[in-house]
């Protein structure tokens, strides 16, 4: 304490003149710290940095791969979709064409059927007509002959008889005509 006071009175040693002991101690302390940091601390950090870089690069690469794969899948799906669309369109077209064809066929069939039915009817009609004509012709001849024989066979005795003959004829004719019209 006394020393300090004396020093304070004198103004103390010059602050810009270094103490040798302090230089040596400072240097030794610094070198020890430098040794510790360069031997242990820095390599650990550098290893960490390298590891981190590797990890990030690996991550980027992985992401790129995933992206490429996704892109490929997308292309594939698009292709499939386009194929499916084309297929659907083709099927639709086919179906439409087929439908048209079916309709056409059906119409043809119907036409043919109707033509056939008409032809059959015509044919039947013709046949019936021919039959009727033939029947009529035969009946007419016979009736005419019958009538003539009756006219000739019966003498015209009186008015009443004549009338009766004619009436009978007409009745007979009616009787014949009725089955013919069936």
């Amino acid at each position: 304490m006394v020393n300090t006071l004396i020093l304070s009175a004198e103004g103390g040693p010059s602050p810009v003149l270094p103490h040798t002991s302090e230089i040596i101690l400072g240097l030794v302390a610094f070198l020890i710290l430098l040794f510790i940091i360069s031997k242990f601390v820095a390599p650990r950090f550098e290893a960490l940095y390298a590891e981190r870089t590797a990890k990030i690069e690996g991550g980027i690469e992985k992401a790129e791969q995933a992206q490429a794969q996704a892109q490929k899948l997308l292309e594939q799906y698009k292709e499939q979709l386009a194929e499916a669309r084309a297929e659907a369109a083709r099927i639709r077209d086919d179906a439409r064409a087929e439908g048209l064809q079916i309709i056409e066929e059906l119409r043809e069939q119907a036409q043919a059927e109707s033509a056939r039915i008409v032809a059959q009817g015509q044919h039947q009609l013709d046949a019936q007509r021919a039959q009727i004509v033939a029947e009529l012709r035969a009946d007419l001849g016979r009736t005419a002959v019958e009538l003539a024989s009756k006219v000739v066979g019966e003498s015209l005795e009186d008015e009443t008889r004549r009338r009766g003959t004619v009436d009978r004829f007409l009745n007979e004719l009616d009787a014949v005509a009725a089955p013919a019209s069936k």
Binding site: V16, P18, S21, L27, A29, V41
Partner: protein, 260 residues
């Protein structure tokens, strides 16, 4: 500090150089010596603990240590030396930065309250005996003896008639001034800053001890100033550590540079 006030006995004795040379704690060991050793222990323990289990996704503690390392590595070393050659100098620059930073910060840590670097010897130890030999050594190694001298003293494109002027100036700057200014810069900043804090703290104390009540009232102003200056000092302490490291890296980078 107290004994100084006692010594003053009613008359204010401004703090001065004497306050930087306190009596040894025991034997020849003084306070700054203890602090230097303490700083080494603190930094080494901090980094060893922080790097014991490093993971790619850092925790809080690791993040702090990593930020400091990153600062020394990328912000200072790579910027100044160039991404080609900076790797071997990272531990050196990191050590310089942390060593000076912690020793400066001691100036505002309660109880410790003494910036080690206000003793020029410690600053000189680093600048003159570490940075100076390192940057000249790598320079000579890279460019050869004559080549390096030419490289350092003759910026390319110098006209011949300024050479007689240029060469001595450049030589003096590169080989004499640089290490000295490097040490003096941090020493002077720490010395002046500590002195400033002492003035305001001791002044406030002195005013508080006065009989006069009005003078007692003034003392809080002095203490307020002391607190404000403490924050300023904190900034300067970090800044000085940064500048010291930056310039060291800059000298190394210049010595290694292909061209100026």
């Amino acid at each position: 500090m107290t004994n100084l006030v006692l010594a003053a006995e009613g008359e204010f004795v401004a703090p001065g150089v004497k306050d930087f040379f306190l009596p040894p704690i025991f034997g020849e060991v003084t306070k700054p010596m203890v602090l230097v050793v303490l700083s080494v222990l603190i930094i080494a323990a901090f980094f060893l603990a922080a790097t014991r289990k490093l993971s790619t996704v850092p925790g809080k503690f690791q993040f702090i240590a990593e930020s400091i390392y990153d600062f020394g590595r990328n912000t200072i070393a790579r910027e100044q030396i160039g991404s080609k050659d900076f790797k071997p100098f990272v531990p050196l620059l990191l050590t310089i930065f942390c060593f000076i930073l912690v020793n400066n910060i001691f100036g505002i840590v309660p109880i410790i309250q003494f910036p080690t670097m206000s003793h020029i010897g410690f600053a000189l130890a680093i600048s003159l005996f570490v940075v100076y030999p390192v940057y000249h050594f790598v320079g000579f190694k890279k460019h050869g003896f004559v080549g390096y001298l030419k490289h350092q003293t003759l910026p390319p494109g110098t006209p011949w008639f300024v050479m007689p002027l240029m060469i001595p100036i450049e030589f003096a700057q590169k080989f004499v001034m640089n290490p000295l200014t490097l040490a003096i810069r941090v020493f002077a900043a720490m010395f002046a800053g500590h002195l400033l804090l002492l003035v305001f703290t001791l002044g406030g104390e002195f005013l508080l001890m006065q009989e006069n009540f009005l003078l007692k009232l003034v003392s809080p102003v002095a203490f307020l100033f002391a607190i404000a200056l403490t924050f300023l000092e904190a900034l300067i302490m970090v800044l000085q550590a940064y500048i010291f490291t930056l310039l060291s890296a800059n000298y190394i980078g210049m010595a290694l540079a292909e061209e100026h």
